[in-house]
């Protein structure tokens, strides 16, 4: 099974992101209550393999609830869940006042997942799952804020994809935006794939 958690504050374009990546994946919208929603068997196919992904969508109201969510997933009871997932995609609005603290809590979750993985797999050097933060904005974002968030996520080893810019390629010819998110999903080492000849 290939499982990814998509989590973010309420009304933070989680469903919109999934819809732009996979056509017709769901009738739901970001205005609905999507907490606990599971989108199963979303097809992903590349020239090398095809597979089905399960997206587990979760939401929180505010920073306190995000802290509780992180604590819950870090708990001993959630060990099975941490072992079962292949990545967590965190979606946030650039206008949120607690982005940096939220990213810090997110990095603790990733660190714990990596630690659990390395304890079970002593020969591996790293967890192969997705560590991704996706930022979007309904209004133009100040360059200083962008730089701050980018630096913070770099320090914590989380890749940041900025959906607030329309372009799918940056000045260095690298994929950005939705194109980069798709690339990350395609290059992830999914455990359950059908290899194509």
């Amino acid at each position: 099974m290939n499982r990814v958690i998509i989590v973010g504050q309420k009304k933070t374009a989680k469903i919109a992101l999934l819809r732009s990546l996979f056509e017709g994946v769901t009738e739901r919208s970001d205005g609905d209550d999507n907490s606990g929603l599971i989108l199963s068997n979303v097809p992903l196919s590349t020239r090398y393999y095809s597979c089905n992904l399960d997206f587990m969508v979760d939401e929180y109201d505010d920073s306190k609830e995000w802290e509780d969510w992180c604590e819950e997933i870090l708990s001993v009871e959630a060990l099975e869940l941490r072992e079962a997932i292949n990545g967590i995609i965190f979606i946030f609005d650039f206008s949120s006042k607690s982005i940096l603290q939220d990213l810090t809590k997110l990095s603790k979750v990733y660190d714990q997942i990596e630690q659990d993985f390395l304890l079970r797999n002593k020969d591996s050097i790293q967890w192969e799952g997705i560590k991704l933060a996706v930022g979007f904005s309904r209004s133009p974002v100040a360059q200083q804020l962008l730089d701050e968030v980018y630096d913070a996520s770099l320090e914590k080893g989380i890749e940041l994809v900025d959906l607030s810019i329309a372009s799918q390629e940056n000045a260095y010819g690298e994929a950005t935006g939705i194109r980069r998110v798709k690339e990350i999903l395609e290059t992830c080492s999914w455990p359950d794939v059908v290899k194509l000849r």
Partner: protein, 152 residues
């Protein structure tokens, strides 16, 4: 000059290729990769491509979502190392046909083969672009012919 190791890292911090031209234990390799991942991925686009690391230097170059990291001695030429990395990327691009990370993940043996034709013991052994591709193509051909033989 000799490259001590060459590591290909994705932006997600995943190791896609690692080639060692110096004898170090597996534990040290893992430690080195872990440290390099933390150092190189933290660097911004406009930062210098050369940095000092322990008793040697790291030269890295970023191509799309991949970082190519080479470890060299303090006395070695960094610009030459950058050129070697670039030559390797060019060769891969020609061999794979517009190479991307997915190609390297699923056809990693070709990436290693091209590297082995290009470098021997960390030193450039074949400077001709055409010759490296010719040898790789020839070996692929032998492999294909072998498969045909077993079928009959």
């Amino acid at each position: 000059m000799a490259i001590k190791y060459l590591i290909m890292l994705s932006k997600q911090g995943k190791v896609r290729l690692s080639k060692w031209y110096t004898v170090i234990s597996q534990k040290e390799k893992l430690q080195l990769i872990k440290e390099l991942t933390a150092i190189v991925l933290n660097r911004k686009a406009k930062m210098c491509n050369v940095l000092e690391y322990k008793d040697h230097k790291i030269v890295y170059r970023r191509y799309a979502s991949l970082f190519f990291i080479a470890g060299i001695d303090v006395d070695d030429n960094e610009l030459l190392t950058l050129e070697i990395i670039h030559r390797y990327v060019e060769q891969m691009d020609k061999a794979y046909g517009n190479v991307c990370e997915l190609d390297i993940i699923f056809n990693f043996q070709k990436a290693y083969h091209i590297l082995d034709e290009l470098l021997l013991d960390g030193t450039l052994q074949e400077s001709s672009k055409r010759e490296v591709l010719r040898r790789v193509g020839q070996q692929d051909q032998y492999e294909l012919e072998d498969e045909l033989d077993t079928k009959f």
